[in-house]
Each structure stands twice: as structure tokens, then as C-alpha cells.
């Protein structure tokens, strides 16, 4: 394998230019004041009640949407896997297909569906049912997150399930385990790496999103992502924007550190 190390060079260079260097730029801005001197005030801005409240709300919403994604994706992946289709990439394709459209377009479409005079409420009206307040609520944002990030949960879980050899399951059966026990003792632990990468891949974008909260929240719900976006775009203060981003990054790194503890086998990493 080592002989093909050079194959990774383009990727390493790419990472260097587009990930590592920008990261250092953010760190630089995060720890400096307008004039250029060192300061911690950008970081400590997170303790401002407004920023703290929006960070808290972001954590809350992204945890809920990650949990919902997990609850939806795991059974689904099991079913997909259980189908044992010859051409199961076709099934996955069906799940991915909506994702071939731009993310913004899809979210805007949901705006039209959830609106007061949108598809759902028009339908309810036809049935003489009271209209629902769907749009511009935290619920709508959670919905948007789940909708957009669900495939990121399904794919790694499905992938790790497919890698479990049937021999393990047959062995468990031979030794007298029933389906539930087989699932709990064999399938679940072996699919954990997929679950872990799924959680990270849903939790991280949910925590940092600002587009979904803008479109489905009617700008009434302010997440930490919106605050940071505003610092860069409207206030034009890159220092505070970077400082707050760094705080957010700490949360992300922290959650990933916890998760990787359960990811010793590093099987799930293949998906990355």
C-alpha cells in the first residue's frame, strides 16, 4: 500500500490550501482585535446573553434533528440491507436522487409547502380542518435539517451494515440467539461505527447552518450560524465572526472526541 502513497498528495495539497490555511486565518482573526493586537474579547463574546441563547438554541435543535435522523435512518438502513437486492445501489440512488437538486431549491420548496396558504394548509382547508402554523417555527427548522441531512445518516449506517459478514449472524443463530439477541449483540455493535459517523455528519452541519433557519424560520429564529454570518456579512467584523466560529468549532471537536471514543474500530472512517 505504501508504494501508492503519492496518490494521496493531491488530496493533501487540497486539504492544505482549502482547509488548513483558512483554519489558521480564522484562528488569526479570532485572536486579534481590529488593529492587529492579541485579544480574547472575540472569544468571550460568546458569553453575551444573545449569543449564548442562540448557541444554546442551535445545540438544542441540532441534537433533536440528529436524534430524529438516527431514529429514521437506522430502521431504514436495516430494511434496505434486509432486502438483499442484487442491485442495491439502485435503492440508495432513489434516496439520493432528491439531493441532486440544489439544497437551496429544495428548502425553498418546503417553504411553499409549509406556508400559511401552502400545500398542506390548502389541503387541510379543503377537508375543513383548522390551518396549522408550520412555517417560521423552530419545528420547521428541525424539519428542514432532518430532510436535508437524513441521507448523511443513512449512507454510513447502511454501509457499515453491509460490511457485517453473514457468517457472524449465522454463527449467532447457530449458538441459539433469537433475532432480537442477534441484533443487540452482533448487528448493533458492529454497525456502531456507521452510526457514529452518521451522527457527526448530521450534527455538525445542523449546528452550523444558517440558511435553513433563514428560509424556514422567517428570520425569526436566530441560530449561532446566523449570528456568525451576520458578523461577516452585515457588520463586516471578521474578528468577532472568527472568534465565535472558533467557539463553535470547540463544540464540534468536543462532540467528535466523544464519538470517536466509540469508533475505535475506525470502520466508519471509510465513508469519509
Amino acid at each position: 500500500m505504501n508504494t501508492k502513497k503519492w496518490l494521496s498528495y493531491p488530496y493533501t495539497i487540497w486539504m492544505g490550501i482549502f482547509v488548513i490555511i483558512p483554519l489558521f486565518i480564522i484562528i488569526y482573526y479570532g485572536f486579534t482585535a481590529e488593529g492587529g493586537g492579541f485579544t480574547l474579547s472575540n472569544i468571550s463574546l460568546i458569553t453575551d446573553p444573545i449569543n449564548l441563547a442562540s448557541l444554546w438554541l442551535s445545540l438544542e435543535l441540532s441534537l433533536v434533528s440528529t436524534a430524529i435522523c438516527l431514529l429514521l435512518a437506522y430502521p431504514l438502513s436495516l430494511i434496505l440491507h434486509g432486502m438483499k437486492l442484487k442491485n442495491n445501489s439502485f435503492i440508495i440512488m432513489i434516496f439520493i436522487l432528491p439531493m441532486w437538486m440544489n439544497f437551496l431549491l429544495r428548502t425553498l420548496a418546503w417553504q411553499n409547502i409549509l406556508e400559511k396558504t401552502g400545500v398542506i394548509n390548502t389541503f387541510l382547508k379543503l377537508l375543513h380542518l383548522p390551518a396549522l402554523d408550520l412555517i417560521n417555527t423552530p419545528g420547521a427548522i428541525i424539519f428542514g435539517m432532518v430532510y436535508n441531512f437524513l441521507p448523511f445518516m443513512i449512507l454510513p449506517i447502511y454501509n457499515s451494515l453491509s460490511k457485517i459478514s453473514d457468517d457472524y449472524i449465522n454463527a449467532a443463530r447457530d449458538l441459539g440467539a433469537n433475532s432480537l439477541l442477534t441484533f443487540l449483540k452482533v448487528i448493533l455493535p458492529l454497525s456502531l461505527p456507521g452510526v457514529v459517523s452518521g451522527i457527526t455528519m448530521v450534527f455538525v452541519p445542523s449546528l452550523t447552518t444558517f440558511v435553513i433557519s433563514d428560509i424556514l424560520g422567517g428570520s425569526k429564529v436566530v441560530l449561532i450560524g446566523n449570528i456568525i454570518e451576520q458578523q461577516f456579512k452585515t457588520v463586516n467584523n471578521w474578528h468577532t465572526g472568527s472568534g465565535l466560529s472558533l467557539v463553535l468549532m470547540v463544540f464540534i471537536l468536543f462532540s467528535m472526541a466523544i464519538l470517536t471514543k466509540y469508533d475505535k474500530e475506525s470502520e466508519g472512517k471509510n465513508i469519509w
Binding site: S89, W100, F103, K116, L155, N159, S162, K220, V222, Q230
Partner: protein, 359 residues
């Protein structure tokens, strides 16, 4: 194999979800880089300019002044001609970002009504840096079939009793723009829309916070569609959009509230680092041509300061429309925005965030 397909799918997923967009311009022919508001010019006008001058127009768009400013200020992308609003012109002049316009190259300036040039001097003394393009007011647009009582006050957005009586609590479309939102609250309270008094701004903030439960969403561009479709009974809108929406839905009524409001002027400016100032001036001159200004007016329905163009309007209703060309009484109670300095900008935004983060 399975892993590879999964990986490929994942890649395509990431690519589409991040929306990889590439823009490229291939030719070496002369080109003019224009940075403009979205939906703020008749596309045919661009073509006419290209035909007449042989200069290719490359147009980019922004949604609010604050989005445009950092691009010009940092020079991360150079533009020949930009169309900011009054207070932003003032800010950019103050920071030395703009180049003086050579009026020898803009003979069509004679078509611009001197009264607008005079108004523009409030933010650009001597009209050295900007040429007015469009102007308008900020007001309330409401649906007469959904709100029975006539509206003439900003109170329609804040007065709980009035709102509940007319049954539109929770349906207001409030404007998602810091200066405009505060200008409305400050006017209602009887203060200047350019207030720098923290106590006044705080009072306005409280008013906006109390308004929040009555608000459906904070929006800018969506007001138009939601009002035309009859989804929302009331919203805050710019006068130019009001003309368009009323054309589509005659039930709508536009008012500039009696407490006063903002009158704004957007003008063409040339950034100091413009690659091609000569083309930019050609463009500005072209925009001041009466026929062209009329074409733009008919398309975007924002009021034109071009008096020659106004005389060419055939539709008498539009020509004398109180929305497009309000009378002196309306203009007397309207004020332009001024740039209030970085500290005040930050204060306004902080207060705005406090409004937004109320649950």
C-alpha cells in the same frame, strides 16, 4: 464495488448540496463589470448598451448594501460601477473608496431633475461621486379586503388593539433590514430615523420586541409574492415594489405613514479601484438617457429621477402616481438615511439581534 458506488454517491451529494457554481468569462473583448441590486435593471437595456458601445456587460448582484460593501472595501473583486444607497454612498465617500465622476463624459446628466441632485447632496455634497438612478420611499402595503379599517400610521404594525381588532396578529411581514426596521420604530415614537441616542434606540428596540409575536416573518424580497398571492394582509415594502404589486393585485394599498418615513436614493458610483473608469462613465451616461431610463422604469417600477423620462411616460395613471412620484407633502415628512459611523452601526445591529433573539 459497493463502497465505491456509495462513495461516488456521497461525492455527488456533497457537490450538489454545496451548490458548486462556476462562472467564467472567456472573451478578451472589452467588458464592464457592474455590481447591482437584483431585479434592478431591464435586461434588454444591458443588451442595448452592448450593441451601442461594443462593451460586454458582466453583471453581479447583491441583496443589501451591507453585502456589497465588504466586497468593494476589501477589493476582493473589482467592479467598474456599483449602485449603493444614500447612506452607503456617504460611508464609501468617507472611506475614500470612490472615484470622482467626470461630468464631461456624462452629458445626459441634464436629464436628471435638479431637485433630486439637490437631495443627493445630503449624502454626496457637490454630486461629485454619485449619479441618482432610482429613488423611493418605505411604507406599508396592505390588502384592503383583509383589513377593513384604512391605515395611515405605523401604528398598524405596533398597536396591539388595532391589530387584534382587524384580526391580523401574527400575520405581519416585517422588514428584515436593520436600518429600515429601526427607522419605522423610531418614526412611530417620534424620533429621528438617524437617531444616535442610545435611549431612543433602546425604546425602539423594546417596541420591536413587543411587536415580534405579531410578526409572521422578517423578510425583504418575499413581501412581493406573499402580498400578491393574498397570503399576507400587511407588510413593509419599498415604493417601487408597491407599484409592481398593485399592478398584479388591485386589492393592495400603499401608504407612507403620517409619522414620516425614509426616502432613499440609489445612485451609480465608480469605485476607486475600478479597472475601467471610462466604460463606467459610458454606462452611467447611458443610464441617464431618457429612453433607457423609461425602459428601466417600466420594467422595475422604481421611481426615476430622470425628468425627461417621466415626461415620456404614456400611462397618465403612472405618470401622476402618488406612489411613484409622491407629492411634496409626503416628501416633507420623509428623511434620507445618514451613515452614522461604525460604532452606531454596531449598536444598531446589536439591538436588532436583541429583537431577533426574543423567543
Amino acid at each position: 464495488m459497493k463502497r465505491i458506488t456509495a462513495l461516488l454517491l456521497l461525492c455527488s451529494l456533497i457537490l450538489t448540496s454545496t451548490g458548486v457554481v462556476t462562472g467564467c468569462s472567456k472573451s478578451n473583448s472589452p467588458k464592464l463589470l457592474v455590481y447591482n441590486w437584483g431585479e434592478y435593471i431591464d435586461p434588454e437595456v444591458e443588451k442595448l448598451f452592448e450593441k451601442e458601445t461594443g462593451i460586454n456587460v458582466v453583471m453581479s448582484y447583491y441583496e443589501q448594501n451591507e453585502d456589497m460593501y465588504p466586497i468593494i472595501a476589501t477589493g476582493s473583486q473589482k467592479y467598474d460601477v456599483v449602485c449603493p444607497s444614500d447612506y452607503m454612498v456617504e460611508k464609501m465617500i468617507g472611506e475614500g473608496l470612490l472615484a470622482k465622476i467626470d461630468y464631461n463624459n456624462i452629458p445626459n446628466i441634464k436629464n436628471i431633475d435638479p431637485s433630486y441632485l439637490k437631495s443627493a447632496e445630503q449624502f454626496d455634497p457637490g454630486n461629485q461621486y454619485s449619479v441618482p438612478y432610482c429613488w423611493g420611499t418605505v411604507g406599508i402595503l396592505y390588502n384592503k379586503t383583509m383589513i377593513k379599517e384604512p391605515i395611515d400610521s405605523w401604528g398598524a404594525l405596533f398597536d396591539k388593539d388595532f391589530i387584534e381588532k382587524n384580526g391580523y396578529a401574527g400575520d405581519i411581514l416585517m422588514i428584515n433590514s436593520v436600518r429600515d426596521a429601526f427607522a419605522i420604530a423610531l418614526s412611530y415614537l417620534g424620533y429621528s430615523i438617524n437617531s444616535t441616542d442610545e435611549a431612543q434606540i433602546d425604546e425602539a428596540k423594546k417596541l420591536l420586541q413587543e411587536q415580534k409575536p405579531l410578526v409572521d416573518a422578517y423578510v425583504v424580497d418575499q413581501v412581493r409574492d406573499k402580498m400578491i398571492g393574498g397570503e399576507s394582509p400587511i407588510g413593509v415594502i419599498y415604493s417601487g415594489e408597491a407599484i409592481f404589486t398593485r399592478r398584479e393585485n388591485p386589492d393592495l394599498e400603499y401608504v407612507v405613514p403620517k409619522e414620516g418615513s425614509n426616502v432613499w436614493i440609489d445612485g451609480w458610483v465608480i469605485p476607486k479601484n475600478a479597472p475601467n473608469k471610462e466604460y463606467a462613465e459610458k454606462w452611467i451616461n447611458f443610464m441617464c438617457d431618457p429612453e433607457i431610463a423609461l425602459k428601466n422604469f417600466n420594467y422595475i417600477t422604481y421611481s426615476t429621477p430622470n425628468k425627461a423620462a417621466r415626461e415620456l411616460i404614456t400611462d397618465e395613471d403612472i405618470k401622476n402616481s402618488p406612489i411613484a412620484f409622491p407629492g411634496q407633502d409626503v416628501l416633507d415628512r420623509c428623511t434620507t438615511y445618514h451613515y452614522l459611523g461604525e460604532k452606531m452601526d454596531a449598536l444598531y445591529i446589536k439591538k436588532w439581534n436583541e429583537v431577533k433573539s426574543v423567543q
